[in-house]
Structures are given as C-alpha cells and as structure tokens.
Symmetry: C2
Subunit: 180 residues, 2 copies
DNA sequence: TAGACATATTTCTCTTAGGAACATCCAGAG
DNA sequence: CTCTGGATGTTCCTAAGAGAAATATGTCTA
C-alpha cells in the first residue's frame, strides 16, 4: 500500500484496489477491499499516511483520499532497501495435479497442461502490451523493467509447459515399448 | 493431504507435514501443523480417511496414523480429473521491490537481484538432485516429471534475473548518456 | 424505467499462517 | 553422568488474508 502511494498520487481505498489489481497482477497478489480499508486506518494512526474527505462534483459519492507522509516514505524506502530478500511464494495448482499423475488419464493431463499453456501465453501478451504503455512514461521506468521481466516470465512458463508435454509424450513411448 | 495419502502409505500428521514440506517445496506451499491436524479430523469425519493408534516400539511417543479410504480416493481422483484449471499464485517480493525502484539505489537493486539469482540457482540444483532420486523409483514417475519441470523453472528464474541485471545496466548507460 | 455497471466503503465469516506450548525419547557434548 | 539440542508427535491460540455480501449512490443504455 505504501509502495503504491509512494508514487505520490492522492488515492482512495477504491483507487488503491484498482491500482494494485492492475499493476501487480503479473507478479503479486492484490489485497482485498477489507484489507485495504483496514490497513489505511492503521497506517493513518501510525502517521504513515494522511487523509481528507473529497466531495465529488461529478455526481459520485464522497470519498476519503490518502497521501503518503514523509514518515511513510521513509518507512517504505527503508523496507525497499533493507528488507531481507525472501523467496517468492508459488502455489502451482497445475503442477500439484500433474504430480498426482497416477490419479488421472494421460489425455486429461495433456488437457490441463494445454490450458495452462494458453493461460501463460495470454498473460505474456498482456504483459507485452503493458510494457509498451509503461515505456511511454518516464516515471514508469522501473515498473516497465518489471513488466519486461513478467513478459519473459510468462513466455518461459509457456515454454515449460511445452517441454513437459514433450516429456509426457516420451514417457508414453517408453511405456508402449516396455509393454508391447 | 488426500493427494499425499493417495500414494497408499499410512501416515501420521507429522509424517504428512514432513512429506509435504519435502515434496512440494519446489512448486507449492506446505500446510501448517495446525491445518494438517485439523483437516485430518475433518477428513475422517466425512469418511475420506480412517485412522488408528500405533504404539511405537522404538521408544518414540504413540501416534495416530491415517490411510485414505476408497471414498477419499474417489474424491481426490475426481479433483485431479475435473477441477478447473486455475492460474498459479505468485507473490514475488523481489519483483515488488524492484517495481519500486525509485525508492532504492541501483546498486542495492543489483544486490537484491543477485541474491535472488543465487536462491534460484540453489533451488535448481536441489531439484536436479531430486530428479535423479525420483527417477530411481518407478512409483515416482509423475513426481519425477514435475521435479524436472521444477529444475527448468528455477533455471529460468535464474536466467530471468540475469536478463534483468542486463536491463538495469542498459538503463544506467542510457541515463549516463542523457545526462553527460 | 428497469437493469447493468462503476464508484466507494463496511461487515462478516472462513481459511491460512505461524509460533508457542506440551510431551517424549535419543544422542552427543562437556 | 547429566545437560542440551534435536527429532518425533500433537494441540492451542492469535493474527493475517481471502472473499462474498451488504450498503450507498449515481450513470448510461436497452
């Protein structure tokens, strides 16, 4: 949350949710509304953000918008610089299922893998598009860098699926030969 | 849990924890003890596992061991076959930090990335070792397949870090030129 | 003029995470 | 020969996270 606010914009809880959904979707989860609104109150209490109410002309409901304070900036900066490097969290449901390959037919496995391949390619394409738009703005240099990483990451995820499909074929061949 | 038990072994909660920590570490998170023991009771109540107490000769404390039932097998099998293909969950703290590149020095970024690169290479090596031992046993054919995937995955994670380091260098070069 | 959709926030409930506590034994260090 | 750390084995407690639903309010469209 502080990271998102560190770009300097004045954002509502709703904005933060949309922003994080949008910006982090390639490499990080996005907090739920309940987490965001709760956290904003906590952050304000400790002085890392400050807020004000905004009456909206355009007709929409009034909202509370938040900006990061100097203390908040110091806190995120400290985190970004000094936090220990932690391993990424991965929960790969597709691999979990294939790990249990004795429970499903080879064709079903291929289908699951194929669908995952499609997902990876779709994500790669989306990242590719985002790289272009992020490069247009100077302020997005680092996000653009990470988007480029994401594009490559999903390309690799797609290739990994292909490699595994090939491994599956090979397994079947060996099986067929040993049981003629 | 049912997946782990579907290999047919009679396991205690403690065994399940060690097993899942060990087997899934490359591609899935492992449940906590509290989840495991709670879940085992729930699974027994719905008839997916059954348990018995075992008095241990070797001196260790008595334990309760669980086996999967036919209904349990049917349930995991159904899950493995029919569950929707869901996108993997990724929380890449390193990328989140680099996304906030405006908050830290270029050298600190390189350090974080370098450490992540090392982590990826270590994981790759571990996966490589595990592939060999899994291939020794016929029953581990599918786990071996996923371990092979893991080995490639971490190799790619390492290469992605290298590519990003190169991107960072390039960014610095351009920066230096535009501000002579 | 209803219905879908977008903004904006709160509430509730369930799951997951993670550590601490408890219990028991073994092996190795001092 | 005792102390301590580590492995086995299980339970309890608390906090964080996920996600749906409820509550407002207004716009645009079929």
């Amino acid at each position: 949350m502080l990271g998102l606010l560190s770009f300097g914009e004045e954002l509502s809880g709703y904005d933060l949710k949309k922003w994080s959904d949008w910006s982090l979707r390639f490499f990080y989860w996005s907090p739920s509304f309940s987490q965001i609104y709760g956290e904003l109150k906590r952050l304000e209490k400790v002085g890392y953000v400050s807020s004000r109410m905004v009456a909206q002309e355009t007709g929409n409901r009034d909202k509370r918008v938040y900006v990061i304070t100097d203390e908040g900036m110091a806190a995120v900066r400290h985190w970004a610089r000094e936090a220990p490097v932690e391993p990424p969290v991965l929960k790969h449901g597709v691999m979990l299922r294939l790990w249990l390959g004795h429970l499903l037919e080879a064709d079903r496995m291929r289908e699951v893998l194929g669908r995952h391949r499609e997902y990876a390619e779709t994500m790669r394409e989306r990242a590719e598009v985002d790289v272009e738009s992020a490069r247009a703005e100077e302020a997005w240099a680092y996000p653009a860098l990470v988007l480029k990483w994401s594009e490559r990451f999903y390309a690799s995820e797609r290739d990994l699926a292909d490699a595994m499909l090939a491994d599956l074929d090979e397994m079947d061949d060996l099986d067929a030969k040993s049981r003629p």
